[in-house]
């Protein structure tokens, strides 16, 4: 596949699937301000998904909507992390933080992409994602430091999500080809920034980073998604699948 298309699909699917997960909170958040903030983040991500999937579609001749609503799990290229179910609010916050910490490094690296269509989207998205990271960091710190219960929940969330977090930082042949072409940053160049963010934020949150460096793989190359993705697509794609060809 064309490397720009492959990259756009990965970035677009991450934004689409995480945006969908966050939107599942709509009307159910712990406090009204959170309902508003979560909707904002979901909106940013869905907006980014439209841009990235639009670019991916330019390459293979399908619209962003066709890519979002008419592919099956094996054609999705999102990280396993973003497809994980929301769990409690703490897990949602931790998933967002682990993703944001990688996302921001990736987008910053892509701002200087050799491919102008990529750098243009990255420059727009990075401003939003810097804010997402600022917010998720503050929340991880508050909930980690807050009460005994919240500390225990956040530590549990970190441990639960940890095996899903490492995939983003493990280079595969697509990542290598993209870095060689100067389209995206090299994955190993993202690690120092990502680790520094984790150490600073999780340290202030009084949380312990798990020692294991085991990471599940199979999301970004589509070889083995988790079961959760199929259920998400069942809901997200239902109308388009049930009434093919209709305009909405």
């Amino acid at each position: 596949m064309d490397p720009v298309g492959a990259l756009a699909l990965r970035m677009g699917d991450n934004a689409l699937i995480l945006g969908h997960r966050v939107s599942e909170w709509c009307g159910h958040a712990p406090v009204l301000e959170e309902d508003i903030a979560l909707a904002n983040i979901a909106l940013d991500l869905i907006g980014q998904a439209q841009l990235w999937l639009g670019l991916a579609g330019e390459v293979d001749g399908r619209s962003a909507d066709e890519l979002a609503f008419l592919r099956d799990t094996w054609d999705f290229r999102c990280l396993l992390l973003v497809e994980q179910p929301n769990g409690d609010f703490g897990r949602t916050v931790m998933r967002q933080f682990l993703f944001d910490a990688w996302h921001v490094e990736m987008l910053r690296g892509m701002c200087g992409s050799s491919e102008p269509r990529v750098s243009e989207i990255a420059q727009k998205a990075v401003r939003e994602v810097e804010y997402h990271l600022e917010r998720s960091s503050a929340q991880v710190i508050a909930l980690g430091d807050g009460t005994e219960e919240s500390h225990a929940r956040m530590q549990a969330a970190l441990e639960w999500l940890w095996p899903w977090a490492g995939e983003a930082l493990a280079a595969d042949p697509v990542d290598v080809a993209l870095a060689e072409a100067g389209i995206a940053p090299a994955v190993e160049d993202l690690r120092p920034g990502w680790e520094a963010t984790l150490r600073a934020v999780l340290g202030e949150a009084t949380l312990t980073i798990p020692e294991s460096d085991f990471a599940h793989r199979g999301g970004k190359d589509g070889k083995r998604h988790s079961e959760a993705l199929g259920h998400l697509l069942t809901q997200m794609q239902w109308l388009q699948r049930a009434y093919p060809g209709a305009e909405w």
Binding site: L16, H20, S23, E24, C26, G27, H28, A29, P30, V31, L32, E33, E34, D35, I36, A39, N40, A42, L43, I46, G47, A49, Q50, L53, A64, D65, A68, F69, D88, F89, G90, I141, A142, L143, D145, G146, T147, E149, S150, R153, Q235, M236, W238, L239, Q240, Y243, G245, A246, E247, W248
Partner: protein, 328 residues
């Protein structure tokens, strides 16, 4: 507006009023705005808390029937528009809670009263959203009915409420256009889509008419609330206006309003139409709506499941300020 059957606490004649009460009524009659620091009769304060609180709760509970379709929206654009709309509603809830707080009640107290059933929210949100066309119908009919009530309330006597209404109205008219846009797509779409559109109108028509509340003849509190300018128009007057505005829109869409008695009345320059089933309305207000139990459960679960988060945020803020003080 989402306030129905607001029980009034006043009802005094001019002769029964104290000098303060009479002076207050004079200010209202002169079109002045009452601000939080101004003297006001206890009845005015209590009635407003009830009305603004009910409106705020309606915005919050109102997130649920629409949120029901956020994860099933058919295109990325529709999903973004719907999310933005539901987010606006949460924002309306926030302004309104803030307006009510200026009257001396906390948001937590109001939430507690909603969850214990002592405060109400609009009957309309106890009905289910069963197809994508319902999202169109909610925007077109429910927001349409709400705007009918809210536009005059921009001139209500209580300053913070009036200012909240001005902001809210701007966003609501945008929502209504979005709802109508969905209905147009559906009504001009495939046979299945047209069926969804007609079904949505069939189910939402009478519940929308109920949003204005029972006939003025039966609304014992209307007169006092109108004297205080916290209610501007009569229920029947607004309902008539809504029907007159909506019927031609339904015709434009090629949909049939589910009322065999609907007929243009040349003499009054408006439509004659059937009343909704008021027994159903009172039953829904008491909690017997098709989704009433589900809506309250969703709100209670959100509140209970979020307790640890709110506790942790408070504990963290306290620790932070203690650390700051210790460092100084």
């Amino acid at each position: 507006m989402y306030a129905q059957m607001i029980k009034s606490e006043g009802g005094k004649s001019r002769e029964e009023m104290s000098p303060e009460e009479a002076a207050f009524q004079d200010r209202i009659d002169a079109g002045e705005t009452i601000e939080p620091q101004d003297w006001m009769p206890e009845g005015y304060r209590k009635t407003l808390i009830r009305q603004i609180g009910q409106h705020a709760h309606s915005e919050i509970v109102g997130q649920l029937p629409e949120g029901n379709w956020v994860t099933r929206a058919p295109t990325l654009e529709r999903k973004a528009i719907l999310l933005a709309k539901v987010q606006d509603e949460a924002g309306h809830g926030l302004y309104l809670y803030c307006a009510a707080e200026t009257l001396g009640i906390s948001r937590d107290d109001m939430t507690e009263q909603l969850l214990s059933g002592r405060m109400k929210y609009s009957s309309i949100f106890n009905y289910p959203t069963l197809s994508w066309a319902d999202i169109g119908a909610v925007g077109w009919l429910v927001d349409g009915a709400a705007i009918m009530n809210q536009v005059p309330l921009q001139r209500t006597s209580y300053g913070p409420y009036s200012r909240a209404m001005i902001r809210i109205c701007k966003e609501e008219s945008f929502h209504q256009r979005q709802g109508f846009d969905i209905m147009m797509k559906m009504a001009k779409g495939t046979e299945a889509q047209r069926r969804m559109a007609q079904d949505a109108l069939d189910r939402f028509w009478y519940p929308s008419l109920m949003m204005f509340g029972p006939s003025d003849a039966e609304s014992v509190h209307s007169a006092q609330n109108m004297a205080w300018r916290i209610k501007i128009n009569g229920n029947d007057e607004l309902r008539q206006k809504f029907v007159d505005q909506t019927v031609p829109q339904a015709e434009f869409l090629g949909l049939k309003v589910p009322d065999e008695h609907l007929k243009w009345n040349e003499e009054k320059g408006g439509y004659d139409f059937s009343e909704p089933d008021w027994e159903e309305f009172f039953a829904v207000l008491k909690g017997a709506g098709p989704e009433s139990a589900e809506r309250m459960k969703a709100r209670r679960d959100a509140w209970d499941d979020g307790q640890w988060v709110r506790d942790a945020m408070t504990a963290h803020a306290e620790k932070k300020s203690a650390r700051r003080e210790a460092a100084e």
